[in-house]
Subunit: 137 residues, 2 copies
Amino acid sequence: MSSNHTHNKKNQTLTKNQRIVLNLLQDSGEPLKAYFILNSLKKEGLNSPLQVYRALDKLVELGKIHKVESLNSFIICNNSNCASNTAFTICERCGKVKEIKNNNLTEGVNELVRENKLNITRYNLEFYVVCKTCKIN
Amino acid sequence: MSSNHTHNKKNQTLTKNQRIVLNLLQDSGEPLKAYFILNSLKKEGLNSPLQVYRALDKLVELGKIHKVESLNSFIICNNSNCASNTAFTICERCGKVKEIKNNNLTEGVNELVRENKLNITRYNLEFYVVCKTCKIN
DNA sequence: ATTACATACGTAATATTATAACAATATAAA
DNA sequence: TTTATATTGTTATAATATTACGTATGTAAT
């Protein structure tokens, strides 16, 4: 009856294809491209692009992963309550992508959205940066 | 010596291909896809995707147009001083895209960026909305 | 004017990303 | 069990974007 149990239960509702795609993204932590996922999971029985895209679509819909639009890539969701909103930093030098968690920035964006009376259903924010590691070097 | 003259001067530095692509996007005002642009401009002498993509790349670089990443489309820049930053609302029902101009929202985003000490070089913000027209109907 | 350089051009081929169409199967609900 | 819904597997194809190559053009320095 741990929270772990609940988490497993949730994942059990996923189909085999959905689960192996999610696992790969989870293990990687990085944004992966659909055809890279396909190639990586050939041995697990994924044979066609559609199988990958269908799994990805479903996982995006469930909020378990996000699409990084400007990279045509998919990344695990690190933010349990981000719903369908996404906010990333993308390092222009090394390509590293980080999801911006519920902090001042997303709080602030929510406020701005309210203030501006925008009828927002969801948003996708991509901030291009030079990450700390790259800045040093 | 009007401001119009300056504007023309600027456009004169564009090549033929760049100018006809820019004109199409200007006249349309909507986000257009590369291959739509290609088909539209066949009569003007554009024959290959590469000619379109090269013109688009240059125009993006010059800040005259923007790419709407999640739509794989390109739209005229309505905001003379947006540099390489972009902020759009995209209606989920009718697909209408509007560039958010220098108002409270982008001001606020800039502030948030400063506050959070993010080393931002540029950003791309996509807000999915239900636009006024669609909301009524 | 001539060289050197960068930029842009045209064309063909190809790579990458994503979807359509269809028949079969599994899963959940009535 | 019957019905409805979602998912699967497969083939084919559409849509988006880039590589490679050789040529032409514009610009600036010599």
